[in-house]
């Protein structure tokens, strides 16, 4: 059978244009021949699609006609609102654009004026200079006034200087401003000041004190104090051997003083296990100072000296600093304290060690 005739027959069948006999015949063919069946299904779908297409197209045309008809009759109003309403309409439509444009314009204007200000040379120099002089005069006036005020202040200071009761030595154990000194130095203190080897004075507060161990921890609270970075010395956890050479630094007077000696015994006065005995020339004011071994490790805190014998001093063993700091850390404010364990000056000679360390030793003044 010719393909063309097949399609025509199928179309006739789909449209129901066959008579009963033909229809029966075709249905039998459809049942026996799956190819024909397939064709019928396919063609039915296709004709349906064409029909839908046609109807939809016609309806579109109808809609367009209706639209223009109704607009022509004025029954629907497709004109944009006139007059004031139009302005509102346009405003509503473009306000976002307008806002963006306005902000861009604003930014540009600012940018341009800034550029102009920076690029164009000052034209009115005469006036500006005059003005400059004015300002200078005001400035000098102010400086003079300040000087005056300072003079007055100094005079007051001189007159009312609070005499410091005791003085000792302390040393930094944490760069954030924590110092260790002797508890007996800061006992009953109202004000504590610490002064470094450059003669800079800072205010400090007592954060921990243990009179039994004779250890106190101070914190520098002064705004001028700049946190220190790495500490040159470490603090030794274990005890040291007898006869090891040691040295200390402290402020028996208003200048840092170095003195040398040796560890004479592992226990302190009358067998006190907290401390150890040193053979060193110590003076009042050395109290609270660090005792270093030759590697620059802190092995103790110089605390007392025997009154009946010359050259005998006692130091609190450095491992108790760790105990104290553990106690301190229980307070959340001090949780971040970290003790230096490693000495970076080991192997250097004493002069070099001294130079590196002296900045970390402070005089502690109390009133």
């Amino acid at each position: 059978m010719d393909d063309q005739i097949v399609i025509e027959t199928v179309e006739n069948y789909i449209r129901g244009e066959m008579n009963a006999e033909e229809q029966l015949l075709f249905e039998n063919l459809r049942k026996s021949n799956p190819e024909v069946d397939q064709l019928v299904v396919e063609h039915t779908l296709f004709l349906q699609q064409i029909n839908n297409y046609g109807e939809r197209r016609n309806f579109n045309t109808t809609l367009h006609q209706v639209h223009s008809d109704l607009t022509g009759k004025g029954e629907i109003n497709t004109d944009l609102p006139k007059g004031k309403a139009k302005v509102i309409y346009l405003w509503n439509r473009y306000k976002r654009v307008a806002a963006i444009a306005a902000s861009i314009a604003g930014v540009t204007t600012l940018g341009v004026s800034l550029l102009v200000n920076t690029l164009i040379p000052n034209t009115a120099t005469d006036k500006l200079q005059e003005l400059g002089r004015e300002i200078n005069r005001v400035k000098t006036d102010q400086i003079e006034q300040k000087k005056e005020v300072n003079n007055i202040k100094n005079k007051i200071d001189d007159n009312t200087k609070i005499p410091f009761r005791t003085a000792g030595t302390g040393f930094i154990i944490d760069g954030k401003g924590y110092l260790v000194t002797n508890a007996h130095i800061v006992r009953n203190a109202r004000n504590i000041f610490v002064i470094n080897s450059m003669n800079e004075q800072f205010r400090a507060t007592l954060v921990y004190t243990d009179l039994n161990k004779d250890i106190a921890v101070l914190k520098i609270t002064d705004e001028d104090f700049k946190p220190m970075t790495s500490l040159p010395y470490g603090i030794r956890k274990s005890s040291t051997d007898v006869a090891e050479p040691i040295y200390t630094m402290g402020f028996p007077r208003n200048e840092i003083v170095y003195s040398e000696g040796y560890l004479s015994a592992k226990t302190g006065f009358n067998g006190d296990t907290l401390s150890c005995q040193l053979g060193i020339a110590a003076n009042p004011g050395n109290s609270g100072g660090p005792v270093f071994n030759h590697n620059g490790e802190v092995i103790g805190i110089l605390s007392t000296k025997e009154t009946e014998a010359e050259g005998v001093a006692f130091a609190i063993q450095s491992k108790y600093i760790y105990n104290v700091v553990e106690e301190l850390k229980k307070d959340t404010a001090n949780q971040k304290i970290k003790l230096p364990t490693k000495s970076s000056v080991a192997g250097l000679n004493k002069q070099q060690q001294f130079k590196k360390i002296e900045d970390f030793i402070f005089m502690v003044k109390v009133n």
Binding site: N51, Y53, L63, H67, R93
Partner: protein, 187 residues
């Protein structure tokens, strides 16, 4: 009650391709949709497109015969237009808020999904018709859409007799079918 029957009659008219029905629905609802679109950053042209698309949705539903309007015709059209317009705005990235006065509308998601499918079919057929070119396009249009008989077609298109026109039509039909189904299967 009267209004309900009235709307039912209108839908029946729409399904019968009754122009008066389409015109009545158009007249009663267009202005509402236009203000919806214009108040939401649209133009009158946008409003016309949206409303006519909604009319097509309604038309398809009416033709399917199984359509039961369970709210006012106005509400239905408003809901459809609203969804269509929101979709359009989202495509233009100009609308994010989706939650306002939803209670005033009815859910038309399913209807629009169906419409989307039909729309795709329509476009596919339109594209296929565009691709076969003249005179095939005119020939098939005349036979299948305007339902003219073969003799008329032979006269209009200048074929010597109806049989010739028939052969030509058959060839065109095969081409159209081939193009259409190649796209249809891709879908």
């Amino acid at each position: 009650m009267k209004q309900e029957t009235n709307e039912k009659t209108l839908l029946e008219g729409l399904a019968r391709n009754d122009r008066m029905a389409a015109e009545t629905i158009y007249r009663d609802n267009y202005n509402m949709v236009q203000s919806l679109v214009i108040n939401n950053n649209g133009s009158t042209d946008d409003a016309r497109d949206i409303f006519q698309e909604a009319m097509i949705v309604l038309y398809e539903k009416a033709k399917s015969g199984s359509f039961e309007l369970n709210c006012q015709l106005k509400t239905y059209l408003y809901s459809v237009c609203r969804r269509l317009w929101l979709k359009r705005l989202q495509q233009m990235n100009r609308f994010i808020n989706n939650g306002d006065n939803l209670s005033e509308t009815v859910s038309v998601d399913d209807d629009l999904e169906e419409h989307g499918q039909k729309d795709a079919d329509f476009e596919m057929m339109e594209k296929s018709f565009g691709m076969i070119g003249e005179p095939c396009k005119g020939l098939l249009d005349a036979y299948y859409l305007q339902r003219k008989n073969m003799q008329e077609i032979a006269d209009t298109f200048g074929y010597t007799n109806a049989a010739n026109a028939k052969t030509q039509k058959y060839k065109c039909l095969m081409r159209l079918k081939k193009i259409f189904f190649s796209q249809y299967k891709k879908q």
